[in-house]
């Protein structure tokens, strides 16, 4: 398959990108292209204009900012994976970035692209959801900050406006333990089910590929809050969740996997 016809421009600054995106009604930013191009090839996305933000090096960074780590939206997965700062302060993110696809994918894909794409099957969005990350967006009407729990809205749908550029992702440093469980058939595959769990004052658990967007395992979180043991809390991992069925797993098997993986995550965190 190959994409429908489209125009292409390359932005040299985020301000220019935000200007360019308004030039056409169904324009889209393209960062690493590793989610957008497959969609375009299947004609599931047919943007008339691509605004390439791939070379905005000003948005590629990982730095300390008070109690948080700020990550530029254009930071590639491989740079998140290798960031010394993240490995020290928020190791789960570095680890999860290293679990995405294969080395080629990690050298192209960006954390901002993965987030803005909002795919429920993606690894980083679930980790960011568990971390209660904050997303910084800039658009024609200014800058706003969006908490992760309000960001992911549904199938490939986020709180970002059409003409808003995701510029930065902020995560808290105060994580004591964490676990990431990615269940797949082949090393390079997407997760059939994944679990990202972190502990600061409370334990937060997010699920990969259990719905159309990344989800918090609210049943498990509530159970833990009520003092349940890890195995008991894990049994409630899929509470209120209606997981998809596909070639790799039926909805039932996904529910089962979710509780197994949540239990393993909690065990690994000594909860």
């Amino acid at each position: 398959m190959y994409p429908a016809k489209f125009e292409y421009v390359r932005a040299s600054s985020s301000a220019e990108a935000i200007r360019m995106i308004q030039d056409s009604e169904d324009a889209k930013f393209i960062a690493g292209g590793h989610s957008l191009l497959p969609l375009m090839k299947f004609r599931m996305a047919t943007p008339s204009l691509l605004v390439d933000i791939g070379r905005l090096s000003e948005l590629s960074y990982v730095r300390e900012d008070g109690n948080e780590i700020a990550i530029g939206a254009l930071t590639r997965h491989c740079d998140v994976e290798r960031s010394e700062l993240l490995r020290r302060s928020v190791p789960i993110l570095a680890h999860v970035a290293g679990q995405v696809g294969d080395p080629q994918v990690r050298h192209r894909g960006t954390i901002g692209g993965s987030t803005a794409h909002g795919d429920g099957a993606s690894d980083l969005p679930a980790a960011l959801l568990a971390l209660d990350a904050t997303f910084v967006a800039e658009g024609p009407s200014g800058r706003r900050e969006l908490p992760a729990r309000e960001f992911f809205r549904g199938f490939l749908e986020t709180a970002l406006g059409e003409d808003e550029l995701l510029t930065e992702i902020r995560v808290p440093k105060a994580i004591t333990t964490w676990s990431f469980q990615k269940f797949n058939r082949r090393a390079q595959d997407w997760a059939i089910v994944g679990v990202a769990a972190v502990r600061s004052d409370t334990t937060k658990v997010a699920l990969v590929n259990m719905g159309s967007s990344p989800l918090r395992a609210t049943g498990t979180e509530a159970a833990l809050g009520e003092g349940a043991s890890a195995p008991e809390a894990a049994l409630r991992a899929a509470e209120g969740i209606d997981p998809p069925s596909d070639l790799n797993a039926s909805a039932d098997f996904r529910r089962h996997l979710a509780s197994v993986l949540v239990r393993r995550a909690l065990e690994e965190m000594n909860i």
């Binding site: 269940f183 058939r185 082949r186």
Partner: protein
Amino acid sequence: MPGSILGTSVRRVEDPALLRGDGTFIDNMHFEDLGHLVFVRSPLAHAKILSINTDLAAKAPGVLGVFCADDLNIPDHHAFFALNEAVKRPPLARGTVRFVGDAVVAIVASSKAAALDAAELVEIDYEELPPVISMEDALDPRLEPHTPSTDSNIAAGYRDPQGDSVLEDAEVVVRARIENQRIAVVPMEGNAILVVPPRGNDHYRATVYVSTQMPHAVAGLLGGIFSVEPSSIHVIAPHVGGAFGGKAGVTAEHSVVYAAALKLDRPVKWVETRSENLIAMPHGRGQIQYVELGLRRDGTFTGLRCRMIGDAGAYGGFGGGLVLGSTRSMSQGVYRIPRISYDGVAVFTNTTPMGAFRGAGRPEAAAFLERIIDIAADELDIDPIEIRRKNLLKDVSFPFTTVVGTVYDIGDYAKALDRLIELSSYEDLRKEQQERRQRNDRYQLGIGVSVYVEVTAGGGATEYSSVEVTPEGGAIIKVGTSGHGQGHATSFSMIVSELLGIPIEKIQFVQSDTAAVPRGGGTGGSRSLQIGGSAVRGATEAVLEKAKLLASNLLEAAEEDIVVAESGDGLSVAGVPSSTVTWAQLASEERKRGNLLEATFDFSQASATFPFGAHLSSVLVDLETGKVTPRSHIAVDDCGRVLNPMIVQGQQHGGIAQGVAQALWEQYVYDEFGNPLTSTLAEYAMPSAAELPSFNATNVETPTPLNALGAKGIGESGTIGSMPAVHNAVVDALSYLGVRHIEMPCTPQRVWEAIGKAERGESTIPWSDPPKAFEILPLRGQATESDAASVDV
């Protein structure tokens, strides 16, 4: 002369060019005026074509030609062997499409992009027809026949008269309906062809560059389709990026490109995309096997009843015929089975046509036999190795004729199994398994064994070669096989070097060009070394004889005193090293007399050879998630005398990987409407190195008496031996829970479901009465023999 080069791991001479990116693949070839062809394919599994509108496409920029069936008028044809003579495929669909991917329109444009853009503009109106997707549905008499030329969806089939009587004296009968799932071939390079019409004073009708296993067969088949002399078509296979059985014959796409190039009178190229490859290249395997094994309580086999369905896909792909051919001929395996009744039927479905994949019918045989034996072992509580030992063919004299009439050249099955047990520390593995079970480990160890025999160089076992010694003192080998990664240039040069003393670096290797090599059978069915290598050996011996005669003249000595010089460069009088004439001198001398110092040889082997072996696989099964992780794999494969151990191991490794892949990961899946659900490599789960354990691939050597090299095939053995070993290992890990069978691929969900069933006390062995259609098949021998039953690729 230094010690023999045979049996040493000579590095592959063909690799440097490939590693440096100097390969010549069709997509890299450019011609002036080149037209790029793309196909518009059916999105529906079965539909009537109401109308095709190509007006806009024809006017699109860069378009050179737009063709529907009637524009090219290519006769319907088989791609390779005929499964059902009456059913051929129209290369471009005529009135009806019969699978998702069926080619309907071909567009040629000055660039691939222009052709793709134009393809978007073609409008086709379809009226959907009910599709037949599953093999068992195809046997339902109420469902519409697949083609107007047949009265049922049965493409070919037969039954044995014995039927149930083969199980009469059994004390125990175990039975299972086993699926050997459809898989895709997925060579790294898909299909590709470039056809160049005659230019200048070129006397060929066309020069065809094609990614194929069998260039001479391409010339023959194209000649047949277009009613022209095969020798008038020049076929060249440049570098071929893998084939595995998928590049045998002339597909619909090939004949369309050929016709389009001649019609447009310009070079036309078609290179399959990956998405196209997964729906268009013939698939492999695809059998449903109703198997019943009769035994005495002590584990002795008394009889085997098989009722087997083979999926032929649309238009009766030849791969559907394997169920009637090698799956039956190998159904006795390495065991004493006194009686076998085998019914087989190949059916049309609205799916991608079936072809061959590494092993072609033999892995399907080994798989069902080794699986049902393990089911029996579990039922009778006998160790899987013990039950095999008890029933192995031993103390038989070779050639040995099996109950189904197959003649095994030579074998020593116990030797392979003994060696395997020696290498595997079998008892230690069983001990570890016990320990894991006792401590309720989350990860259970499974140990699987298979002992197999297969058939290589089955069909048409003749091959051409010529060997010439050049005035530069080197040699040129020409051979009719068509290597594409197997290491022929190295192996065959070793044979020449061994006999003539000419170093490998000075040997030139010519293959895969019908103008340079007058005839050839190509590469398939693990035939190349034993048949092609033997031809090379024959030609080398003949040229040596010629050279000796010449040398005896030049050196004034008796011919029988002439030997290859100690130095390796030329011939000398035995015991008189000073009396030597070099190869360069000999060849120059012969040239002066107006001849080449060359000999040709056509080798034919009296019958097929039967490589065999034993594999042991161990896997860890995660009881909670059902995920299987292969831990170790040991292969003892007997391909006769080993010429180059490194090349043999390479074949074993690739074969094992593909067998493990089928056991654990790969399956080509359609939904009920015939939509492929695994049409990208994201869904079609080919493993990578990360998923596979390190292989321990070794050999025992039982040379075949059928050729002077003592060589049998090794290309497919790894796949045949490994798949059942891994499959058995998965079930073995869970047998203590009551699990008896899991269908391939043993995916996490299937493993999890099997554990659940066993826990609930339900049977995990699928069985139902085989379809009624088996009862009305003609008796074997009375049925029209299907050509495809004798396929060997």
